[in-house]
């Protein structure tokens, strides 16, 4: 069940949603969008925040097990989960 996330994390998720149609992203794809503002340290904290708040799932890539695939939940699913969580 998705939990609220900090404002700066929200802003970055919106940028990813805006940039990509697919919800399945590699680190490189995420880095491409966030790197003007964020270094790798910041991106790794960003990803941890998303995982912790259950906005995203992480699994190994089928093509290369060393790489990770970050799957963002659909915006409407997140909204629904946050709505339920708030008891509405």
């Amino acid at each position: 069940m998705a939990k609220p996330i900090p404002k700066w994390v929200q802003e970055r998720v919106s940028r990813l949603w805006e940039k990509y149609d697919s919800l399945e992203l590699t680190f490189e794809m995420i880095e491409k969008v966030l790197s003007p503002m964020d270094d790798r340290n910041t991106i790794s904290v960003f990803l941890n925040e998303l995982k912790k708040a259950e906005w995203m799932e992480v699994k190994p890539s089928k093509e290369d097990m060393r790489k990770k695939i970050y799957t963002l939940k659909e915006p409407n699913v997140i909204m629904k989960e946050l709505f339920i969580k708030n008891g509405n």
Partner: protein, 370 residues
């Protein structure tokens, strides 16, 4: 200005941040203040020529340069800086800016010689503590040094954040926090485990004081304004997470630079300057601002600078950066006083969130050292 008393005003149990009330002969104020350090003092002098105001801080520090060629400390400018601080009703702290090697080689005899030299130059007199010092060694030297001071003078002990005697560091810190009004810590960017352990210990002991108790102010000296190894956050913020009360960033002395570095510095463009971004709580450059926001915050700021401010482009950015960082230190105090959850509030900003995540100032390590 003279400090009469420093008292604990509030201890936040979750974050271990402390608000201290500083009572002086000219009024009262709270901790988390940027001092007017060498660079800002230089800006102030230029601004005063144009009838502009000075930076609002009750503290001024003067970092003294070690002249490598002459192999001596360079006191040029100290007297004028002190006079300026008196005119501005400030507490003036001179400080010999040692590099790491000089700290490693510091012994009691040199520390005492330095103390005696600075005794004739300032009301606040620094006494640097060698890296292996114990409390048992320090106490008699401290008593002797204080006895030798005039009635209106005060000693400030200065520790290295890389103090090597890890067993004694907590005892030394506790003693100074209880028995002084000012203590200094020379710091290196939270880059190694000794530094982190010592600073975490300092943070724990500082927050173990009770409301109303007398306590010393912790002056962080010689830190990098921008912590490049910590996602470009402000050094002052990083050290405020480790009990910092007063902040005096590292001074850069053009005379000590190599010709190459000096030339590079002279040729810097506005796009090379870092600007403090209050929204992100970290320093950014023009190019990344353009890519991220669609416009450059730095250029935007520069377009609004009036010539009558008396500062060149580099000094203008330095001046505004100082203001913006102080504004954020004030914000921390505001959050604490409003009893909101400080760490939760901090997590809304990328720079602060990343630092708290990577360098947990209240990690288990601290519990162990207690």
């Amino acid at each position: 200005m003279e400090i009469k008393e420093v008292k604990v005003e509030l201890v936040d149990e979750d974050s271990r941040f402390v608000i201290k009330r500083i009572i002086t002969d000219k009024g009262e104020f709270s901790n988390r203040k940027l001092s007017v350090s060498n660079g800002i003092y230089s800006c102030e002098r230029k601004r005063l020529n144009h009838g502009k105001s000075v930076f609002n801080s009750p503290f001024q520090t003067f970092h003294i340069n070690w002249d490598n060629k002459e192999e001596e400390w360079e006191f040029k400018g100290l007297k004028k800086a002190k006079e300026h601080s008196e005119k501005c009703d400030r507490i003036f702290i001179p400080y010999k800016q040692r590099n790491e090697n000089q700290w490693n080689n510091l012994n009691w005899s040199e520390a005492k010689k330095d103390f005696q030299e600075l005794k004739s130059k300032s009301k606040i007199v620094p006494y640097c503590i060698p890296l292996n010092a114990s409390l048992e060694e320090w106490k008699p030297k401290r008593d002797e040094a204080i006895k030798s001071l005039e009635e209106n003078q005060k000693l400030i002990s200065i520790f290295s954040s890389k103090h090597l005697n890890l067993d004694e560091f907590p005892k030394l810190i506790k003693y100074e926090l209880k028995n002084s009004q000012l203590m200094g810590v020379c710091s290196y960017g939270i880059s190694n485990i000794i530094e982190k352990t010592n600073l975490s210990t300092l943070n724990s002991i500082n927050s173990s004081f009770k409301v109303g108790e007398n306590i010393s102010l912790i002056v962080y000296l010689d830190y990098n304004k921008i912590l490049t190894n910590h996602s470009y956050i402000s050094g002052a913020f990083a050290y405020s997470c480790f009990a910092g009360d007063i902040f005096s960033e590292k001074a850069h002395f053009p005379r000590g630079m190599s010709p190459d570095s000096a030339e590079k510095m002279m040729n810097r463009k506005v796009s090379d300057y870092f600007l403090y971004d209050v929204k992100e709580k970290k320093f950014t450059k023009s190019l990344s601002q353009k890519e991220w926001h669609g416009f450059s915050l730095t250029n935007n700021f520069m377009e609004n600078i009036s010539v009558s401010e008396g500062l060149n482009s580099y000094d203008s950015i330095r001046w505004i950066n100082h203001h913006l960082q102080q504004q954020d230190l004030n914000l921390i105090n505001k959050i604490l006083l409003s009893k909101r959850n400080l760490f939760e509030s901090m997590k809304n900003y990328s720079g602060w969130n990343v630092f708290l995540n990577k360098v947990n100032p209240i990690s288990n390590e601290i519990q162990r050292t207690l």
